[in-house]
Amino acid sequence: MDCVICRCEEVLLSDIVRAIEDGYTSHREIKLKTRAGMGICQGRTCRLLLDQVIASVSQGPVPKTIGIAPNVPIRPIMLGDLAKGGGKAK
């Protein structure tokens, strides 16, 4: 039975399986292809699930990706808050 995997971007298990079968095999490729992990939670909820799907479809070990690119901001903050540190040099 099909099931939502990425809740933010409404990506289904079948979407991910299809992408893997089409040759998009890594975490990043699946993200770029299906948008899984691109939403407001940035993969916090689906990251580990994606690893499991990859392992299952490719019949390999669960990829032990940390899945955490050191990507700031680590929390979604308002652009206005981010702007407060700017403009010093001007």
Partner: protein, 396 residues
Amino acid sequence: MSMYMKAGIRMTSAEIVVIGAGVIGTSIAFRLAESGRQVMMIDRNGIGAATSSACDKAIFLQSKRPGLHMDLARESRNMYNTLEEELGQSVEFKGAGGTVAIHTEQQMLFMKKFVHDQTQAGINVSLLNQKEAKEQQPILADDIIGASYSPDDAEVNPLKLSQGFATAAKRLGVEIMTHTEAIGIEKSNGKVTGVKTSKGVISTETVINACGPFASSIARFSGVPMNIKPRRGVILISEKVDPIVNGSLLDAQYIAAKHLSGQQPEYGIGLSLGQTDSGNLLIGGSREFVGFNKHVHSDVLHAIAYHACKVVPALTNIRIIRSMVGFRPFTGDGLPIIDRSEQLRGYILAAGHEGDGIALSPITGCLVRDLLNGGGPTSRFLPHLTSDRFKEKTLL
């Protein structure tokens, strides 16, 4: 079960090997396959996984300098009109026009001349007063003094673009090997004989280096030196919001950062704003020479955010969910190198589009096709895109 999962290469020879599966490599692979060539495309990561997925989505014509740059961009822009039909899928292309916001009298002076030159060159672009600018782009700050507008500017989803080219190329028989890194070029008697990869050797007489900012590392083991250096660009991605941007938006500081070398703003900040079909805003950006350093100090993010809020105050309450770091292939004159190597036969370079990879992706496939096949509608551009134009001045 996917064939890409297994290690090792099924095909061990190819007529042409394209290294790099970004918006440039995939476009080349597609056009070559279309012209009957047998092509293999390799990428150390995945389709469009590097620079082509860390860029904005605008196809701007009015930001280009009149002359060769403009002619290339215009021709490429026209190719977009039929591209989705050719690829058999949507790349979220929209001819929704583009606006350049003008904030200061100094910018106005610069933009007046810029727009004048562009109009002379036959570009459909006009200057808007404050009221017209706000009508065109209601989210602009009240203190803008005007804008320039072109209905010919357009936009596309870069992720869909490389995926679209790749899918269409595959349909035409191109074999795509992802997670396959080129680690050497095999040569004999001054000719290419193969590409050494992390998964084995592919014998070929023609190899195309379409590695964008990473082209230099391939060039190094080909023995053919080149001058492309990475210029880092950072873009902020917002949460999904209802459509608020009409087409694409730049500000005059962006144009200045692009074209004026003397008065660069700090971190090369200039606003570029676009919105994807999914509702996320892409808020750019910076231009910096920091090598391949992916770590972005918060000062850069602050500067981008500060500038964006100044030009578009409506963005203030929108949340930023992440930042994108891309390395643009910088040549120095804003134009790519599409050229055969003189020293090594069969080695072709197709890289160096800097921030125009998205705009010039369609035409680059045709340029390389015409370079290899001879003749063709784009061959008139090729003499201007050779690598020996840099012979006098070394950038690195």
